[in-house]
Symmetry: C2
């Protein structure tokens, strides 16, 4: 029997990526696996992109709607964006070429809370899903599927799609088997029940995904790694931000609001997140837990050194070195990591029950604590909101972090008025830049404005913010949230005109 | 034995409102009952305000921090605002004088999701609570308390306060007894468990509130009604909005996304909400359920005529006529209404499980579906976010409604850029004005902008919005969410300068 395809009926459905891609027709809604560059289909999207390019060269329109878990990779988002094959894309992305085409106004992109995607699909808000393309580690004797390096929305796509294409990727470690927890207890209202998960390590589902075998129209074998770049060592600014967070956490422990085990951590992706994780290890924390979305190299290191005792997520996001480390010690990690469907990893019910400490990056915050996570200068989307809203709204603490300036000081991370709001003043508790932290709990808007300006702003911008706020205090229409409507977005306009918010 | 105070020890603690108020000292944090003008203490706050005024006349500072459930009435918020006795007020208010002083910059006000208030207090985010002042219907033989016409945060205030003042109000119907469900299963993370409520009518708590008798420092007898004005009959615009909602709901039923029992309704307060409720009765719906915050006169009518079979809330908000109707048929209503603590009525876990249909008003929406619920011209707070965020983020549907214009057409309800964001583009599904409805589900920002402009804008403003969007499409920095930063808030600035967004 085939090593990775142990079901005779599905073994017979093997075909080339090109043949499988040919089953996808213009106008279809296609749901694909993939979350933060892990577990995405490696070959069918590329074959599909080639067929789209041929169609376009022949003057035929060929576009589809694409749903995923979150970001994928150049072999999916990149090639399909390049081929002009995306009519609509949701919910999160980070591919440079896709981002460019979205911001050039050529691709429609819908940015959704990651906890909402599956249920909005179940509710019928995105219409029918014609085909699902799902990467797996293997197919078992009974036809059930061993999930790959991410789970994301795969259970939902398998359940909902009219037809299923499975990619079996032999480069994904066979050791992943048993690491997943796929919850099948969801229902539509009014038939929903409590989700009986009380700790990050609780298992409430099964390690395999079910699929209606009659829907499987193709099985494609692949042999390619998740393509993720190694992350950079934390820089000085990121380490300063991490140190401020550690100072704050020390204070919370001293006041008794948290123990030295903290509460389950959620950590966004990127350089600052990695610096924060490294800081926790340096700070002497041991036996912490994570209830998060993504396990990056930094998290693996913390699990190895005992800083984190257990981590729940929906995806890996490992560099080549991280994958090698994981594969080498897979039995160790399997005891300490569980991957769940993203409607569970990001579920408001569970995040609130567990009391997560939500640690996320931001593009900018305004003086009242409104946070922009997505749109540079209010219009150019970076990646998307991801799960930051799920965790910030429902966690015990909502923390947003950013350097105080970007582009060599030409952009301030603290502005009079956020040019796009993803997290409102009602949802943000702690803001951190390398300058310091601002604890907004229990403060009114004007109290927040003074603290944010004092603690977080870069010295180049602090006098400008003070000047704006003092004039707003004097001249604002209402003085609950003082603003000068004619000037609130002038920093962004100045950046557009001069390339520098200061000039 | 005293009819309403059936505990001997507490009977001995009776004193005048003046004597009780004298126990409150400057700088204290005082937590009071009260939610949407119901169940607030009627006499101690007034006596306190008099003592504050005397102190101020004598040149002594006398201010306190005040926490409540939501809005109260002139006898609480009005008198204390007038006395200059509020250092900080949270979380929701609607008293005209308090609003004025907040917007004059004289009182600090913190606007919080109503589901967050209790737990942020438990977490220690608001510091110690020195005194709680709680109105009740009566005190039982064992010292437990019969809640009044609202529950709100009263359980939390009783549990947390160092000392408790109880107001026993004999004007509140004794028939309220048995109508409440006070949940004592909450805990701090990491010790939280699922909340086992699966239907709006489920009871998970007890009908009475517990209080540590040794903390009770005063019992004050009162005899005054909740002071609420009768609501106006729905006007033509409100009825048009209700009709658009009914059209939309018909469509949802036809597509099978909901049955004709809909899903549990949450309805905000006010004229449009009442028109919508009246519309549901007119539309022939029967046997619906409500999982909401407030029961207004309109809801009573729907319960009476069978449109609504059961309603869960945390407060009444009845006019004099409504109170009379309720008292006359209290046994009928007690079988069909339950009042809960507000951390349960507004709990994200439960709202998501039940799949509420969230119906809320708004001040303005922008062309991308960002909604401003709180700040007129970005700076002048109206009431607060209330529970709209709890329900909109977690419900099956999030609906926001407003007339397309205000102030005889001088303000547009649809603007290029929301001057304050309480509900982000990620959280809004359906927007309605008297012009029509815009179903935003599954749409990208640019698709939303076209639909919102076409369906919702008043004819006076539609060409202006089209012009803005077309120029933004051409000239925006990024073209995912096209905006002109130099012009995005110009409508609001124009209103400030000329009193009319058009000129």
């Amino acid at each position: 029997m085939h090593d990775r395809i142990r079901h005779a009926g599905l073994l017979e459905k093997r075909m080339s990526a090109e043949a499988a891609a040919a089953l996808i027709k213009p106008g279809m809604t296609v749901a694909m696996s993939g979350f933060t560059g892990a577990g995405y289909p490696k070959s069918v999207p590329q074959a599909l992109a080639e067929q789209m390019e041929k169609a376009h060269a022949a003057g035929t329109d060929f576009q589809i709607k694409i749903l995923t878990g979150a970001s994928t990779a150049p072999e999916l988002d990149g090639v399909l964006a390049k081929a002009g094959g995306m009519e609509l894309r949701l919910p999160y992305m980070s591919d440079p070429l896709l981002r460019k085409r979205i911001n050039d106004g050529e691709i429609e992109y819908m940015d959704i809370h990651l906890s909402h995607v599956a249920q909005h699909a179940w509710f019928g808000f995105y219409g029918d899903i014609n085909i699902a393309i799902i990467e797996v580690v293997g197919i078992r004797e009974d036809g059930s599927l061993i999930p790959s390096s991410s789970v994301g929305n795969n259970k939902t796509w398998l359940d909902m799609a009219d037809a299923v294409i499975i990619e079996v990727n032999k480069q994904q470690s066979a050791g992943l088997e048993g690491m997943h927890d796929v919850y099948y207890g969801t229902a539509l209202p009014p038939f929903r029940k409590p989700i009986m998960l009380n700790h990050p390590e609780d298992r409430i589902g099964q390690p395999y995904m079910d699929v209606d075998l009659s829907k499987v129209i193709a099985v494609v074998e692949t042999d390619a790694p998740d393509r993720l770049s190694a992350f950079a060592e934390p820089d000085a600014v990121s380490n300063q931000i991490a140190d401020h967070l550690l100072d704050f956490l020390d204070g919370e422990i001293k006041t008794g609001r948290m123990t030295d085990k903290l509460l389950p951590l959620q950590s966004g992706v990127g350089n600052i997140a990695n610096a924060v994780l490294a800081g926790l290890s340096r700070g002497g924390y041991r036996g912490l837990k994570a209830y998060t979305e993504v396990i990056q190299d930094g998290m693996l290191g913390l699990i190895k050194d005992g800083t984190i005792a257990f981590a729940s997520a929906t995806s890996f996001s490992l560099s080549e070195a991280g994958i090698a480390e994981f594969n080498k010690h897979v039995d160790f990690y399997r005891e300490r990591i569980v991957l769940r469907t993203q409607e569970i990893s990001n579920h408001p019910e569970l995040i609130r029950r567990l009391g997560c400490v939500a640690l996320n990056g931001m593009i900018e915050a305004d003086i009242y604590g409104n946070v922009n996570s997505t749109n540079v200068v209010g219009s150019h989307v970076m990646n998307g909101i991801g799960g930051s809203g799920d965790f910030a709204r429902n966690g015990f603490l909502s923390v947003f972090m950013s350097p105080s300036v970007a582009k060599e000081g030409r952009i301030s991370g603290i502005v009079p008025f956020a040019s796009h709001v993803d997290h409102t003043e009602h949802d943000t508790m702690l803001l951190i830049t390398e300058q310091g932290y601002a604890d907004l709990r229990g403060l009114s808007p004007k109290q927040r404005a003074r603290l944010i300006t004092e603690k977080l702003a870069h010295p180049d911008y602090k006098p400008m913010l003070e000047d704006y706020f003092e004039r707003a205090l004097r001249d604002s229409y209402g003085k609950h949230t003082p603003h000068l409507m004619g000037e609130a977005l002038s920093w962004h306009q100045r950046y557009i005109e001069t390339g520098d918010m200061r000039l």
